[in-house]
Structure formats: structure tokens, C-alpha cells
């Protein structure tokens, strides 16, 4: 049985890394005695696969992971969020769980874009930067992956970009950034806009997949489960 889980990561726990989050999930599954399938080989690991890594320090309302249960294990899927959230650290809450087809594509392959909200200190003039970026035909950024530096044009990966002001009067950017063929990270977006620009808060609000030409979320969060226990 393969399950897809949607969760959020809010508050202080945002300073944990992607690897830290993977360990949290392994412990949580053992705490609620949810038997997972294990990889074979010399150093077996439980079969948990995460989507695109969230940068350390960023919050998220739309994280996903797929977990494969041990053979012949059947669970009450609807009851899982209420079991899992208390077994996870404060600020990590499960907002939806559903069974998915074992042959469905992995989250890494399936997600095509993510929506991000970036908050800034009062006074940041974002509208000009946004206008200039959207008017450019190319935006070159030097970035590193696995120790290799490359200069890439990230303009095609900026699908939408808006400067907004929150009800509290704080400037924010809302950006829809492509993840294929290579994901544009929010920090890289900021460098493309203005190398001096520093966000005070970064939050992934959505991840998107495509089905029949339409964008949709891999799982829709249950409305009552959102915003539970951020610290």
C-alpha cells in the first residue's frame, strides 16, 4: 500500500534540514507503529520518498511524501493525520493522507512548479524589481548544484511574479517557479532580481502537478487541519 501524505512545516522547526525531516518521519512512523516497507541491500532504509527538498529556513504549507507500507499492511487512511501529527515535532502537521496507485509517478517527477511567498522588511520597493525582471528576455544567475557552478538563464522558470502588500502593510512577493527541467529556488530568484535583496520569511504555499492540461495539487489539504500547531 502506497500512501501520499501532505504536511506543513511552520515556525521554529523551519530551521531543520531536509535530512532532519526525513529522520523525524522515520521516528514518527515507529512511534505510531506504522510498519513501512524497507529497501533491500547492505544498509536497509524504510521506503519514504520526499518531493523537492525545502530549503533550510523556509516554511511550507505544502510538503509531500510518499510512504510504502510493509506488504499486507492495511491501515485506516482517514485516521492517520490525527495519529501522525502528535508523533511529529511542534510545527509539523499532517493536513491530508490518501492512498495512491503504486505505479503513480514519484513526486520528484510529477511536480512541475511551486508557489512561494517571500516576506521582506517594510520599505522594500519590490514593484520596480518585478517589472524589470518580467520585462527582461533573460536573467542570468550563477548557481551551484552538487559542487558544480553554472550560469543559467532563469527567466523561463519564472512563471508568474507579483509584488503584493499584506493586510499588515508588509511587502511580499508571490512567485510561481518552475521545477522542470531544473527547479528555480527562491534564493536564486532573489539573486536574479537584486543580489542585495534579503527575504525575512520564505514559505512554499503550493506544489503543482499537471493532469489533462490542468494544474492541480498532489493532495488537497483538509480545511480543518490547516494552521494547527505552529510554534
Amino acid at each position: 500500500m502506497r500512501l501520499r501524505v501532505r504536511f506543513q512545516k511552520l515556525g521554529k522547526v523551519r530551521w531543520t534540514s531536509h535530512r532532519d525531516v526525513a529522520r523525524m518521519w522515520e521516528r514518527a512512523c515507529r512511534r505510531i507503529q506504522l510498519p513501512l516497507a524497507w529497501t533491500g541491500g547492505f544498509s536497509p532504509r524504510p521506503k519514504l520518498s520526499f518531493g523537492l527538498a525545502l530549503p533550510t529556513g523556509a516554511e511550507s504549507r505544502a510538503e509531500y511524501l510518499d510512504m510504502e507500507l510493509a506488504p499486507d499492511v492495511v491501515v485506516d487512511v482517514d485516521g492517520l493525520p490525527a495519529l501522525l501529527s502528535p508523533a511529529l515535532p511542534m510545527g509539523v502537521d499532517v493536513t491530508a493522507v490518501a492512498e495512491v496507485d503504486p505505479k503513480a509517478p514519484s513526486l520528484q517527477e510529477d511536480v512541475v512548479s511551486c508557489t512561494w511567498r517571500l516576506g521582506f522588511a517594510p520599505g522594500a520597493d519590490l514593484a520596480v524589481l518585478v517589472e524589470r525582471a518580467l520585462a527582461s528576455s533573460s536573467l542570468l544567475v550563477e548557481r551551484e548544484r552538487k559542487g558544480r557552478l553554472s550560469v543559467d538563464d532563469v527567466r523561463p522558470a519564472i512563471l508568474t511574479l507579483d509584488a503584493v502588500v499584506t493586510a499588515q502593510g508588509e511587502p511580499e512577493l508571490e512567485a510561481l517557479l518552475a521545477t522542470q527541467p531544473r527547479a528555480l529556488r527562491p534564493q536564486e530568484l532573489l539573486r536574479a532580481l537584486d543580489p542585495a535583496l534579503e527575504a525575512t520569511r520564505v514559505c512554499r504555499t503550493h506544489q503543482w502537478i499537471e493532469r489533462d492540461g490542468l494544474q492541480q495539487e498532489p493532495l488537497v489539504a483538509a480545511p480543518h487541519a490547516v494552521g494547527a500547531r505552529a510554534q
Binding site: K12, V13, W15, T16, S17, R19, D20, R23, M24, E26, R27, A28, C29, R30, R31, P35, S43, T56, G57, A87, P89, M90, G91, T200, Q231
Partner: protein, 649 residues
Amino acid sequence: MTSLWPRIEPLLARVQKPARYIGCEDGARTPEHSSRRVAWLLVYPDAYEVGLPNQGLQILYEILNERDDAVAERSYAPWVDLETLMRGHRVPLFSVDTHRPAGDFDLLAFNLSAELVYTNVLNCIDLAGAPVRAADRGPEHPLVVAGGHCAFNPEPLADFVDLFVIGDGEEVVSEITEVVGQWKAGGRTPGSRERVLRTLASVPGVYVPSMYDVDYEGPWLRAITPRFPEVPERVEKRTVADLAEWPYPKQQLVPLTEVVHDRLNVEIFRGCTRGCRFCQAGMITRPVRERPADQVRTMVADGLRRTGYDEVSLTSLSSADFSGIDGVVADIVNDPVNCGQVSLSLPSLRVDAFTVGVATEIQKVRRTGLTFAPEAGTWRLRQVINKLIREEDLYGAVEAAYSQGWRRVKLYFMTGLPTEMDDDTLGVARLARNCVAIGRRYHKGASVTASVGGFVPKPHTPFQWFGQNGVAELQRKVGLLRDDLRRDRAVQLRWHDPKATLVEGIASRGDRRVGAVIEEVWRRGGVFQEWSEHFDLNLWEEAMANHGLSPDWYVTRHRTDDEILPWDHISAGLHKDFLWQDWQDALAEHGLPDCRWTPCYDCGVCTDYGIEHVVASALAPAGGSQGTGQDLSVGGEVPVTLLPVGGRA
């Protein structure tokens, strides 16, 4: 009180491993402070990933938070990147539980588990906003407390720490809380700091250095004398008589980020009477106090369920010596609740085939490395240090390991031991090579890692009179081994930096005058000295010279039996004449068997404190020679209290 979090958080985007500073561990408390509650900040003066797992700190954290009149939070030394930002933004040292400034606490309590952290202690006091010298603090500043094994020679830190706790902390923290609570209720008026310290000096197990005068004659220490009649001449250590009454930590902290020893830890006994003469831990934690086996089982089962860990370590100074260890291990590994997916580790393995049998049983799930500590390369030298492992014991253990599928075995040794000759040093290489030869019978690629550390004589051990080897001599000995093993690709040699060993020696047996050196090294930026990338011997040598102190006097000089040692007014219960006799026995190459299974040698601990070994079996554990070479036919009274059958958890 306001949390510093809004000021800390903007700094975290600019530091390595920000999760070190957020708290939020499972098991963490967010206690409610009040004017009626004594507030303790328990500080581990090293990086979070080293300090978080510390069991002593976690035990006191729970005991204090269970009290109505106390609250306890935790702090760890901020890494250098965050420290720079904190100083730049005027953010003081903070607790990780509620991110409260350290200066808001009544006590800053440091855990001292290694000498090289001493400069970090000063740094933390300074970051807390208090003067580093105790004499400069006023009633508005927290009391600075320190405990842990290094507190058994408190003198190098005596100028900076208001009070030391000697021995087990479980009971004495409550007694200190009561005294400090009255001070707090009295409003901490001017002059009250001296009064509260004087009261604390009468609490058994508490040492207040400012209540003692120190006299020197040239380089020699002449006397350490109490300044008031009610202040004890000798401070006796505290000992928890029965571990069963202290099943702590009940809620071990589960960190959100990677730390050392990232697993469930259950302490199965405290104290050790193997009598290894180099081992301070074994000497100062006597007698042996076993936790009842049923309580161990309960703590393991509850702990695994609560934490979600898949690994548990049964901790002690020699875990294979726990009465009935094989039964306890089998019960844990075969518990159906654990689904065969819980692995178990025993630190400080004894060197014998029995131990490997247990290790094989416990490592069905995930096979980790197997480490043995013969400590010295020849039987002669092992008799000197009283690590009574025969060569055939080691080969039996190694053969069992390789035949059970291990391909690499780690061996720990020390060099620079008393009476060590080059033949003893080279014995390390011979043993390692012989182990490889045994391994080759089972695997073509069998290998051995031999780790060699420079020996640092420790206070309250028979070797406290021994002149440590200098840097050049340790380097020469390491060089001998490197040359000897150069062509041996199956033996990997690792060694500890002899320069760091020298500084450990200065702090280990230093007196109060060394405090000025520690302060100067800290003022010149020497923090995180136990991290090789930050360690700087020049800082120490220059500071010693600036204060007219000689490393040779403190480190490499042999002491005589009439010398007053800087820690003579601190007692671990061991009679000085027992230690001197044991030192003479060492030089005569006489081994001394374990007193759990042989008659009492009257080291002083049980008799003076009216306590006894608490063990579930008066018989030495199964497994032939036990790797000790001990003659167990010696009769006589067995000085133990037997637990009732089935334990009493």
C-alpha cells in the same frame, strides 16, 4: 520577561546548522518562571550536537523541573559563527527552551566532562553578561555552578566558578535549590551573595572556592585552608546509593537534528571496580551500583515506544559486566514489539569471546563497528595499568568477531603510560598485526584500526603522581609505530594530537594559578579547543610563559608522596595511602583483581561512606576468564548487597 527569539531568528539564516538553536526537541520543557521558583540554566559548554545527548544534564533537567520550587532550561555553547553575530547584535547567551536570556536565571550550571572546554565556560559566562571572575560578580548576577568528572580537580576554574558540585548530582541539586530559593526570596540584597555562598559551602558535596585560602611556597602548594569554621576542610563527594530510585531520564530528549549518540541511552550501572589505574571515571564513581534488570527492561521498552528510536545503548563503564547482561540483551532483541528492528549497542566492551557472543546477538539488525580497548601493547604494561587482558583473551575476542562476519576491528591504546618502553609501544603494532593474521583466516580483506591516544594522568587515580610524557616524546612514540606499520596496509593507525594532550595535562592537574592562563587563552580567542580546527598550542604556551608558569612543572614532572596536590581537599572517598600503594603496585607490575568478586582492598569508599556495591549477582559473569586474567579462586567475603530475585522495579 520577553523571549529573545525575535532577535535570534534573523541571525539563523546566516549560520551553519541553525537547528542547534531552536530547542523544540521531544521531551523539552517550557517551564513557567516565577519569583518563587529558582531558575537553573544548565549549560553544556560545547556544541549542541555534542552536549544534547549528555545524560547527566538531562537527568538534572528533569529532576529540577519536577520540583515546585525550581525551573530548569538548557543552553549549549554557540558555534563561532553565531557567537560573532550575537556579539555584533548584542544578543546574550540564551536558553534553547524558551529563548530567555541567561542573565535572567539564578544559576548557570556547567557540565564539565573534558578539560579542553574550560575556555568555553568562560566564554559562556561572558556571553551571559556576567563578569568571568567570581570575585567581580554582584547580587544581580547568576551564581555560576559546575559539576561533572572534571570538578574533581576544581582548582583551574576556581576563580571563575562560584560553587562546584562533587559527585552525583541527583540529590544535591535540590539542596542547593532550597538555599538559593531563600536568597531569591530575600531579594538578593547587596552583600547577600557572600552570605549565600557561605551557606552553600556547608552543603555536603558542595565546594565554594572563595571560602578557602591557598598558600604557596615558590612553585609548591603549601595549604588550602577554609576561611570559616563551618566550611569543611575536605569536601566529600556525593553518591546516590541506589540507582533504582532514580530512573532518569524518564523522557530522554529527542533532537530534531543530528547529534552524537543519537539513540536511546539507558544507564545500567554506575561505578566500576575493575580498577584500571589510568581511569579516573572508574576511581571516582565507586562503588558499583546496578540498576535492577526489570527496571532496565521497562526503561528500554518505554523509551523506544516514546522516542521512536530504533537503537538503544545500555550505558555504563563496562556494560558486559552487568549481572545477567546476556539475558537482558536477549529480552530486548527478541521483544516482539520491537519487530526485530531495534539494534542495541554496548559501549566499553570487555575484551573476550563472551562479549563478542553478546555483540553478535545484538547486532542482528544493523552491524556496527566492534571496538576493543586493550589500552597497552604488552602483558607487562597491562599489569602496570591493571587492564588485565591476556593476549589470548584479545585473540579469542578477535577470532570470534571475524568468524561472526566482522571484517574490521578497532583497537584502542594509550601511549606514554608509566614504565612504558619502546618494546611496549611497538607491542601495539604486534597485536594489531596478529589480529589481522587471525582475520585473514576468515576474510581476505580483514583489517584492524589501531587508535593511539597520549596518556594524561588524572587526579584521584594511582597515576596522579606520574610525570606525563612531553610532546616530543609522544611524537617519537607515535613515529615508532608509524614507521613500524608503514608497509602494513591492513593496519590503519590513528593517533590523538600530542599537543592537545599537553594542554589536557595542564588543565587536568593544574592548580588555581592555571586560571589566569585559561582566562588569557579565552581573551585571545581560544574557544572550542577540543576541536582540532580551533585548537592552538601557541596560545597556551604563550599564556603559560606570560604568567611565569612552566608546562614541565605541571605536566611532565613526577610528584612525590609528600607533595600537597591541588585536589587534596576534594575527596572521592579514596584514601590517599590506598592510591599511593596502588601506584607502588603498578610500578612493581602487580595487578589487582576486581573487588566485586574478591575481598575488599579498603580503598576507603564503601567503608567511609557506609555504602556498598549493589549488584544482582555476587558471581563474576559467565564467560571464562572474563578477559581479566583474574584468579577467581581467591576466597573470602564478598562485599556486595544482593538484590532480591527478580529485581524490584
